[in-house]
């Protein structure tokens, strides 16, 4: 049985992780830019409160979220996860990118605006390209977080062939007190390979994203 559904799990996990990462990265990029670069009242407070929402544990949220999922009849579909993962991924990406944007000298953007770009143009042509390491780090982190997510996936998905790898491996390969050790280990290993690949592929950017700013 594991042999037949494991590829499904892998594909589900990948599909869900990619989509929720794209959504979160897009929102985080815009929100992070606004909080990090624009001057408006309460920007600091707003930034902190977004970070605080990231700290609210999923175990607290999954019951109200389950309600919402039921209302929209999304239960047992990948969209249940694609739309709930951003609840913790967006604050995470926003926070990380906000910090990164703050390290980019504001003169770069000002100079671009004098050079003929609009505020939006300067953001897209100057700030975002410089922030690529930060954006990649946020993306990798978001991807990993959704890849490994367990609670929401456990609660919102029920059909065996719709499950994600972390949930599938645990719920389908443990029957009562019987552990299918071989399959369990193989599943865990295979499930972690994509994440390892993503990491090693982007590791260079990833490190500069965490440590780094831009030197003019």
């Amino acid at each position: 049985m594991a042999k037949t559904t494991f590829p499904h799990w892998l594909w589900n996990t990948f599909f869900i992780a990619v989509f929720s990462t794209i959504i979160s990265l897009f929102c985080g990029l815009l929100a992070g830019y606004a909080l990090g670069r624009l001057k408006f009242p309460m920007a600091g407070t707003l930034g902190t409160s977004i970070f605080v929402t990231y700290l609210v544990p999923p175990t607290l949220l999954f019951i109200p979220l389950a309600n919402i999922i039921r209302t929209f009849q999304l239960g047992d579909t990948p969209w249940a996860l694609i739309l709930t993962y951003p609840t913790f991924l967006i604050p995470f990406c926003t926070w990380l990118l906000m910090g990164y944007f703050k390290t980019i000298p504001k003169e770069l953007e000002e100079c671009a605006r004098i050079d003929g770009a609009t505020r939006f143009g300067a953001m897209v042509r100057i700030i975002f390209p410089i922030a690529v390491p930060g954006i990649l780090s946020a993306g990798i982190f978001a991807f990993t977080l959704s890849w490994n997510e367990f609670i929401y996936a456990l609660v919102f998905l029920s059909s065996p062939e719709k499950k994600t790898v972390p949930v599938g491996v645990v719920s389908e390969l443990i029957r009562g007190d019987i552990y299918f050790w071989g399959q369990l280990m193989a599943g865990a290993l295979l499930g972690s390979i994509p994440v390892a690949l993503v990491y090693s592929f982007f590791v260079e950017y990833y490190v500069t994203g965490l440590t780094g700013s831009v030197k003019g």
Binding site: E107, A112, R113, I114, D115, T118, G216
Partner: protein, 363 residues
Amino acid sequence: MAQVVMKDLNKKYDEVHAVKDVNLHVRDKEFIVLVGPSGCGKSTTLRMVAGLEEITAGEIAIGDRVVNDLPPKDRDIAMVFQNYALYPHMTVYDNMAFGLKMRKFPKAEILKRVQDAAEILGIQELLKRKPRQLSGGQRQRVAVGRAIVRHPQVFLFDEPLSNLDAKLRVQMRVELKRLHDRLETTAIYVTHDQVEAMTLGDRVVVMKDGWVQQVGEPLELYGRPSNRFVAGFIGSPAMNFVDVGISEANGAVWIETQGLRLKAAADRTDRLRPYKGQKVTLGIRPEDIRLASGSDTPDRTFESVVEVVEPLGSEILLDMKIASAQMVARVEPTVRVKVHEPIKMAINTDRLHFFDLKSEAAI
């Protein structure tokens, strides 16, 4: 090429009133320098001209257009920043071409303009490099090049030389001046360095605490400062200040304090007479103090003790103590004096400055 007119310009941040009632008429093709101590509102003024800060009150016109509500890109200006603000992900060529690309210039025109600018600045070999592969001086040139390719109406400079070492700064200063002579574009230049201000500016604007203190040609500021702040700010070493009493005797006006009794020059007596019996601040430039010679009458000499001798090569600075004050004299490099021994000095009394004690305005 255009004039820039600022009318009753004000800028208030939440707590700080950074720029106060600035009125300034920058003439066409003029190189004007805003100078003043850190935090006096120079950058804020410049950034309002650039459109990077909102104007709290007042008006700015570039050419014939009031630009208050125009975004930076529509003001036809170019700005050079202290940290150069080169786009790190673009080559030097792309950095310089960016403004032209944004304005949709044809490719051939962009190429020509960038090459012309690169030639003027001597950076043709650097066009393919990224900013991080350049030295400080080279980055500076690229930043200037990026400004000149656009042929803007006005150049804005915010302390562009402050990040360079002393020698390079002097060299770039001369180059900027030469460049301005060649391009004849109106320029507004901000610096806290009064030497830079004096050497570069056709006219210099001295600011303090958001107020304009005086606007004038460099030598005018030096020779006729309108208040004590300008007098002390312009010139290095700074002007000596001593509080003195004014009295009248034998048809002459006398300037007196402990250890110092000078006769005021004839052309100053009328202006000093109303202060009879009161105190004023006397200002003496270091070069107006010299060793006394036999021909110097007592009404222009004083006794002092030299405490420190600073031989600078082309001149010597003497830090002296007189009874009531500390003074610096700038004398010929051939002068030899002994430290800690009394010495008689003379003052060019026709070059003295006087300031009201309260208002600090020049008398």
